[in-house]
């Protein structure tokens, strides 16, 4: 059994696949960083991300997959489900071993698992497109804090860039400790350090635009006004807006000031 340590990027994973074939490894396990699991009894192999190798694997996959098949793999990768790298590898092996496109073979476990993972990420990124709540700072930056289950920032940046082309914005993932920042030209990946708790009310009051609180209260008010009490259906409400998102949803946080 060989432990493959790679950098956690999709290109890194593709490189790893190349090297599995190159070095004829059998029974592989993937890990994102070297300390992750001290399975010292395994053979360990460090994967250095290499675009040429990654591209060759990608080209091979593209030969027998449709564009949406490739997208599915990409999305599945970002699901960060346990053992997703291994599942993807099994899927890739199936693709390489077959002469025709196997995407539709949903009764095969490898295919089904990838599709499910892709679906999960797709759903999560769709939800993030919905549940990002920007707040405006004094410096005209619209910023949002999110905490998605899957790593979806790479998948939603285009959406936000198209939508908010004329405002500077930042979406920060507190779980993975990085954000995407749009400066009116390009989107780049940023890491931030906060001097104080970014969700404390004092911090917020200091950095916010003077109308920010007003708009938040307006939105909360609006959210309350549109509810029809006689149609209340909490189960459905929570099904659509799972509780794990609430702490970053403006309408679910009580008024700052009455």
């Amino acid at each position: 059994m060989t432990l493959l340590i790679y950098d956690g990027t999709f290109e890194g994973w593709l490189t790893a696949v190349f090297e599995i074939y190159e070095y004829k490894f059998e029974d592989v396990i993937f890990a994102k960083d070297e300390n992750s699991n001290a399975l010292f009894f395994l053979k360990t192999h460090f994967v250095e991300t290499d675009n040429a190798k990654a591209n060759r694997v990608l080209k091979g996959l593209k030969k027998n997959l449709s564009p949406s098949g490739i997208t599915n793999m990409y999305h599945a990768f970002f699901s960060e489900l346990p053992q997703i790298e291994e599942s993807l590898f099994r899927f890739a092996t199936y693709v390489f071993s077959s002469s025709k496109n196997i995407e539709g073979d949903l009764s095969n476990n490898a295919v089904l698992n990838i599709q499910k993972a892709a679906h999960l990420t797709g759903k999560e990124s769709h939800r993030m497109k919905a549940f990002v709540r920007f707040k405006l700072t004094k410096d005209n930056l619209y910023y949002a804090i999110v905490e998605p289950d899957c790593n979806v920032l790479p998948l939603i940046q285009k959406h936000f860039k198209n939508r908010y082309a004329d405002q500077k914005w930042l979406i920060y993932d507190t779980k993975r400790k990085y954000g995407i920042y749009y400066d009116l030209e390009n989107v780049s990946t940023v890491e931030l350090t906060f001097d104080s708790n970014p969700s404390s009310s004092k911090f917020l009051a200091e950095i916010s635009d003077e109308d920010e609180e007003f708009f938040q209260n307006l939105w909360r008010n609006y959210f309350k006004s549109v509810n029809i009490e006689s149609r209340k259906n909490t189960k459905l409400h929570v099904q659509h807006m799972p509780k794990r998102y609430w702490k970053n949803l403006t309408e679910k946080i009580p008024n700052l000031k009455k």
Binding site: S107, K129, A130, D166, F223, N227, R231, K232, H240, T250
Partner: protein, 421 residues
């Protein structure tokens, strides 16, 4: 903006608009793209939040004003109702929309209004707001305007230039009910602008085909809404009317709104009468079957059975009345037939058709594909010599399915269709 006053107006005018359900932001085929680094695009429509009653919030849905010269009995804004009145200025609506959109609260604006002064005066203001958003704010998000019955064609035409969707609500499914509850109105007032819109939309579409630079005109089409359960119509009349709108008026969506009792008026169900939510849900399901599953209205409701079953969904109801069409062999049947199997939705049906290219599908495979096998099994045939199927009557099947449903799906339905398969 004067904060306090706007806050109060928003509470009043959002509250008054909330009974109008036609608010989803389905984009048109000609999506409004953000090409010049402006703000927003109409995209695919996102629900940004859900109310505690489980309905989606995708648009800022408000009335421009709840002052009204009419007195429709089913409407909170009616003249004789003793409520607080308010009116937004044009600029206030623009500022609210932009402020909410920039914070990613909404996909756009749904603007309706009570009729103050006269229809044209009201319509002119709605148009001014849309125009300002598009031209001054460079806003490409979604705009849905209510076309005020009685407004002049020119104004409605102008509205279509800036809005993505227009709607005229028929409110009452039949002329008779309308006469009863809104004596000052008649169906013709509603049908006329619908017809005008239909022709304009079709005309602009043709033009767009020839010249892609031709301006957009209500690219997301028109929609309408019917209030359900305020009056005596049966589902056959309601779905028949809906069908007429889909076929004759090119309507994109017909919305069904279960009547929420709001007044002491002996023409209407008394306050406290429950909202007919299950019936509303069944109507949406029937509507979906007609639009996406290839069913005819007459297959779902007919003169011998003018109302939808409340205890089971209309697809199951149809299957039980048509057991002679089953069992269906999913390994060989056409997609259209698979779509008619209870428990199998559009996505599942497509999955089946794609997976069966690789192997003959067995019951285990269906479960893997996420199909409600417990529900569909009564209608399936597997071409295996060892597969035995008992002949059950429709009553027995219904009982067994209701048993599964009661343990699993009780009280869990949405007016916008969530668990329907």
């Amino acid at each position: 903006m004067v904060h306090e006053r706007v806050m109060e107006k928003l509470a009043i005018l959002a509250d008054a608009a909330k009974y109008d359900v036609s608010c989803s932001s389905s984009a048109g085929q000609n999506k409004r793209k953000n090409q010049n680094k402006g703000l927003g695009d109409t995209g695919n429509g996102i629900c940004h939040a859900y109310t505690e009653d489980g309905r989606c919030v995708s648009l800022l849905k408000i009335l421009l004003t709840n002052h009204c010269i009419f007195d429709c009995a089913y409407c909170v804004s009616r003249k004789s109702n003793d409520i607080k009145r308010a009116a937004f200025t044009v600029q206030e609506v623009v500022d609210l929309t932009i402020g909410f959109y920039r914070r990613n609260y909404i996909e756009g604006l749904f603007l309706s209004s009570g009729i103050f002064d006269n229809p044209d005066y009201t319509m002119e203001r709605l148009v001014r707001i849309a125009k300002k958003l598009r031209l001054e704010e460079n806003f490409n998000g979604y705009i849905h305007l209510k076309a005020i019955p009685g407004a002049s064609d020119e104004l409605i035409k102008e509205a279509g230039m800036y809005a993505d969707r227009l709607s005229v609500n028929v409110e009452m499914p039949t002329e008779k009910s309308l006469k009863l509850l809104a004596p000052e109105k008649n169906h013709a007032d509603v049908i006329k602008p619908m017809e005008y819109l239909k022709n304009e939309i079709v005309g602009h579409k043709e033009e767009k085909k020839l010249n892609f630079k031709a301006p957009l005109f209500a690219p997301a089409g028109q929609s309408t809404q019917m209030i359900i359960g305020a009056t005596q119509e049966n589902d056959l009349e309601i779905l028949g009317m809906a069908n007429y709108f889909y076929e004759q008026m090119n309507m994109r969506r017909v919305y069904y709104s279960g009547y929420v009792p709001i007044s002491y008026d002996n023409r209407l169900p008394a306050i406290g009468t429950p909202v007919p939510m299950i019936r509303e849900n069944r109507l949406y399901q029937a509507d979906w079957l007609i639009r996406f599953y290839g069913f005819n209205v007459n297959e779902i409701v007919g003169f011998d059975q003018p109302n939808l079953d409340l205890d089971i969904d209309p697809k199951l109801g149809w299957a039980l009345r048509n057991l002679h069409q089953f069992p269906v062999d999913i390994n060989s049947a056409d997609l259209e037939l698979i779509l008619r199997i209870p428990g199998i939705g559009v996505t599942s049906a497509k999955k089946i058709v794609s997976a069966r290219k690789f192997k003959r599908l067995q019951p285990e495979d269906l479960k893997k594909l996420g199909i409600a096998y417990n529900r569909s099994k009564f209608f399936l045939a597997f071409s295996s010599p060892f597969y035995l199927q008992k002949d059950l009557t429709s009553i027995q099947i219904k009982e067994q399915i209701l048993n599964i449903q009661n343990s699993k799906y009780q009280n869990n339905f949405s007016n916008q269709l969530s668990l329907f398969q």
